[in-house]
């Protein structure tokens, strides 16, 4: 049949063209998720590749059978067998219930295991974590270093190979904190505190984003994670401690208005309770909402632990 051959040629030409196109597009691209610089992101990449492999156990047969059946059982192939009343076969059906069940069982185990091992709330090994408090604002990121008594706008500085513990809240519509090169994202919400543990294992500047739409300045709301050596980090802290600009309730109020801000700034933290007070100001005025409640309480959600 002429049409069949035409379709065959068309499909092949288009497929080759697309493969070439995407190979060309991928040239020299930095793909953070596949080529990460953090411990968590590395582990996530391994799971991604293994899951892709497991999926291919189904996908490859599906595509092969689709093409083979389409070509072989086309109406004008008189050599092909035709059995119009054949519609059941227990063995075959058991096979394609069974194989996916087996694959999903393996994946299920990985899922359960990795949900725990890569839980963003789980503290990472490798020494005492650096504490950073994160406030998502309209539309900028405020970072507070409670131990170094510093605050930064739209950038963080952190040492390589040391765990970082982020506590996150928002004074804005729900936002999300994501540094693709380092791994895992987490939502930041008004009056609540969520947590994230990351660890960089390479030096460099990595971009972070909000992934959840939070109003006009959403697209410009980015920050840089500057990962340096331990020495450089200590030097940075010492230098910044000399800086004039202060971060306290008054300065914060000026910052917390609905306005995009993309510049990177550093402040000395002069109000140790700033993060807590930002969280509380967005919390309910009703008395029943105690501190315990407003945190996204991990322990109550997980009965088994």
């Amino acid at each position: 049949m002429r049409r069949g051959r035409f379709i065959g040629i068309l499909v092949t030409v288009v497929a080759v063209f697309l493969v070439v196109l995407f190979a060309w597009l991928l040239q020299g691209k930095q793909i953070d998720v596949l080529n990460p610089s953090g411990e968590i992101a590395n582990a996530q990449r391994s799971i991604l590749l293994f899951t892709l492999f497991l999926s291919s156990l189904v996908v490859v047969p599906v595509f092969t059978l689709l093409i083979y059946f389409a070509v072989h059982y086309r109406a004008d192939n008189k050599h092909a067998r035709y059995q119009p009343e054949w519609g059941e076969n227990k063995v075959l059906e058991a096979m394609w219930w069974g194989i996916p069940i087996a694959i999903i069982s393996v994946l299920g185990v990985i899922t359960l295991q990795s949900s725990h091992s890569l839980d963003p709330y789980k503290q990472l090994s490798g020494g005492k974590p650096l504490e950073i408090q994160v406030v998502a604002l309209r539309w900028k990121w405020l970072f507070i270093y409670p131990e170094q008594k510093l605050a930064t706008l739209n950038y963080i500085s952190a040492p390589v190979n040391q765990p970082i513990h982020f506590s996150l809240t928002a004074d804005a519509p729900m936002s999300a904190f994501w540094i693709p090169a380092l791994g895992s994202q987490i939502y930041a919400m008004n009056g609540m505190e969520s947590q994230l543990n990351l660890k960089a294992n390479e030096i460099g500047n990595f971009t972070g984003y909000t992934t959840n739409i939070n109003g006009q300045g959403y697209a410009s709301m980015k920050f840089t994670a500057k990962i340096t050596t331990k020495k450089q980090f200590i030097k940075w802290v010492d230098e910044m401690r000399m800086i004039k600009a202060e971060m306290n309730q008054a300065e914060y109020s000026k910052l917390a208005i609905a306005k995009s801000e993309t510049s990177q700034r550093t402040y000395r933290l002069t109000d140790a309770d700033l993060f807590q007070s930002i969280m509380h100001q967005n919390m309910s005025h009703s008395s029943s909402d105690s501190d315990e409640h407003s945190k996204m309480d991990h322990s109550t959600m997980e009965m088994s632990e």
Binding site: G87, A176, M296
Partner: protein, 657 residues
């Protein structure tokens, strides 16, 4: 005095008239189009014809056609939105400004998602089910024909409101599911979010009524002899979908109502202060939202089951497992909603549970794919357009399935959630599954409704262009997601993203060509309707009862209600030469009269929505009371049917064949 004025005009004010050039153009364009249409109808004196034959019709096939018209028009708007988004991201790099401001861009993607799901996918779904469900069951009509018309007009009312927002007031900028607190008064005091809430609320109630109608039709109106296990698989898929609609849509209604209460009466269900909890909203909206995905895709699976069997000239492989797979998906679809927000911070065990449940859905879905493939095995496959849509579906949907399984692993989802990877994934399954499925279904059943076939080669070209366009548009988005591009960006600073965004824009243009060819196919086939006429009533050597009646199907569907003893009843009859209907079996038939109830309720509901959005409380009260009176009046009407006599039917059938 000013209080009195305020009472009558609510918050209507000149400040909401659009000012931005692009929105302004749309705001002027839409009323002009409406005027042209009204003018044309008036000029050709078609109002009476339109009112009697279409607007007040309770014939499911005509209602289906009206759904289809709305859905296709809305698809054009949704695709324009998509094109606008990709044009913006193709240029707005590194400080360069795109054609749209952030606010417009955000309204555009909100409108795109809302329109595509609620008014395109749902519209095509309701259209197709209305066309085919009664016919495939061997029934004359839906169980509740007037309620069916009400469903349609509530759907239209929702659609009118969403388009109204373009002309006056602006639309929501909160994304298609409108997460609070962004959509609360605190951050969004204007009417945009209210347009979003009330257009979905009104259309959603219509959907719920449709679900009840389809369910009742399947349970009560099947042809004698057609037990559930002899029902064609398409009706099984609609049965499962209508159960999902009945269980899920009330959740949507309540959720939107609570958000509406927050916004109009200053309550605090989902606000971030005073005891409100936005996380509750996110749970509720997805408890509806996830089943909604299956509400859309399961009927498309049903279409493919009929299509593959028909064009392979072979019975469907594994009918029973197909049914069990549908039922399994129905149950599972209700216990996976949390996978839409693994990143909200629930514990590892909660995430793992929902992740594993999500993967489990891949099992019955995979089974269905293999069953379709083995329906082709030892068949005689004709590659007409519906079969090409099926081939495109298998390729696209399988890729979407893989990315879906990837994202079902919570640990992985933390790395791709809300990125372009997610965007690519759900377009993979929704376009590949739902849209391709309904296009296959429309092409397949078109002759049954209109009496002529659609031009086949143009249909194949459309499928090819859609498939190629799809790959070019969405594979770059997967890559962008892995590079760190998040969704809904109206600008970005990394220049290495730009080539991929441009490629994606080209892909959207190819899809647009596919749509143009689709429209061309409709137009060309209409012009050539004489050559493409279906004289037999059974152009594809069909298997189920709808092919036993002439094309186009008469308004009473079946002159004599058939008895069905086999799954593929019509195929069986053809094999055993039992296709003639003896004269003695003809009986008088009672059919429902046209009714204006549906359109009146629709207009009143639309006005009610408008009055809530603009705080016109007096108008809301009038509309609300009028709806109740209209419905009660209808229930008191005893003269709601007319008769077609047996001899009349017999002669018509003799003529038609």
């Amino acid at each position: 005095m000013s209080q009195l004025v305020d009472f009558f005009i609510g918050r209507l004010s000149p400040e909401y008239i659009p000012t931005e050039p692009i929105t302004l153009a749309a705001a002027i364009g839409l009323p002009i189009i409406a005027l042209v249409v009204v003018g044309f109808i008036t000029y050709t004196k078609r109002w009476k014809w339109l009112w009697q034959n279409w607007l007040t019709s309770v014939d499911a096939k005509k209602i289906g056609t009206m759904y289809m018209i709305v859905a296709v028009l809305m698809m054009l708007r949704g695709v324009s939105d998509a094109l606008m988004m990709r044009l913006q991201t193709a240029v707005a790099v590194n400080g360069a400004s795109g054609p749209f401001t952030s606010d417009t861009f955000q309204q555009v993607f909100t409108a795109h998602g809302t329109i595509m799901i609620f008014f395109v996918a749902m519209g095509l779904l309701f259209g197709l089910v209305n066309w085919i469900l009664p016919l495939i069951l061997g029934a004359r009509d839906m169980a509740f024909p007037v309620m069916n018309s009400i469903s349609l007009w509530l759907f239209v009312a929702g659609m009118m409101l969403i388009n109204m927002s373009l002309v006056y007031g602006g639309f929501s900028n909160g994304g298609w599911l409108g997460y609070p607190p962004l959509t609360e008064l605190e951050y969004n005091p204007g009417p945009g979010v209210d347009y979003w809430i009330w257009s979905l609320q009104i259309a959603g109630i219509g959907s719920l009524l449709s679900g009840i109608n389809f369910f009742t039709t399947i349970i009560k109106q099947r042809a004698p002899g057609m037990t559930l296990w002899k029902m064609p698989i398409f009706s099984w898929s609609v049965l499962v979908t209508s159960v999902l609609i009945m269980l899920a849509f009330p959740i949507l209604t309540v959720t939107l109502a609570l958000l509406g209460l927050d916004r109009t009466l200053g309550m605090h269900f989902f606000t971030s202060d005073t005891g409100g909890n936005p996380m509750l909203y996110i749970n509720l909206i997805w408890a509806w939202g996830h089943p909604e995905v299956y509400i859309l895709v399961l009927p498309a699976f049903g279409v493919f089951s009929e299509v593959v069997a028909t064009y392979s000239k072979k019975m469907l492989f594994g009918y029973r497992t197909m049914v069990w797979a549908l039922v399994a998906i129905m149950f599972l679809s209700f216990i996976v909603w949390q996978h839409h927000f693994f990143t909200m911070g629930a514990g590892a065990n909660v995430n793992a549970f929902f992740g594993i449940m999500t993967m489990v859905i891949a099992i019955p879905t995979g089974v269905k794919i293999f069953n379709w493939l083995f329906t082709m095995y030892r068949g005689r496959i004709t590659f007409s357009a519906p079969m090409m849509w099926f081939m495109a579906f298998v390729v696209t949907f399988t890729i979407g399935g893989v990315s879906g399984v990837l994202m079902a692993v919570p640990a992985l989802d933390f790395q791709v959630h809300n990125s372009m990877f997610l965007v690519a994934h759900f377009h993979n399954v929704i376009i590949g599954g739902v849209i391709f499925g309904f296009f296959a279904g429309i092409t397949h059943w078109f002759p049954k409704i209109f009496g002529y076939k659609l031009h086949d080669t143009l249909g194949i070209w459309s499928a090819v262009l859609w498939q190629v366009g799809f790959i070019v548009a969405f594979i770059p988005l997967y890559i962008l997601g892995l590079m760190g591009a998040v969704r809904r960006l109206d600008s970005y600073s990394d220049p290495t993203w730009q080539p991929l965004f441009i490629t994606s824009a080209v892909g959207v243009l190819i899809i647009c060509t596919g749509i143009a060819v689709l429209l061309l196919q409709l137009g060309y086939s209409f012009l050539k309707r004489k050559e493409l006429k279906d004289t037999t009533g059974d152009p594809w050597d069909g298997r189920t009862l709808e092919w036993s009646v002439p094309s186009p199907a008469p308004h009473y569907n079946f002159a004599v209600i058939p008895t069905a003893n086999h799954r593929d009843e019509w195929w069986y009859r053809k094999q055993h030469k039992l296709t003639k209907t003896p004269k003695s079996t003809f009986k008088d038939v009672w059919l429902p009269r046209s009714s204006g109830t549906g359109i009146i309720v629709g207009v009143l509901a639309g006005l009610a929505g408008f009055s809530i959005i603009w705080h016109l409380w007096w108008l809301l009260a009038i509309c609300f009371i009028s709806v109740i009176i209209t419905v009660i009046r209808r229930t008191l009407n005893d003269d709601s049917e007319f008769q077609v006599s047996a001899t009349e039917l017999f002669h018509e059938v003799g003529k038609g064949r």
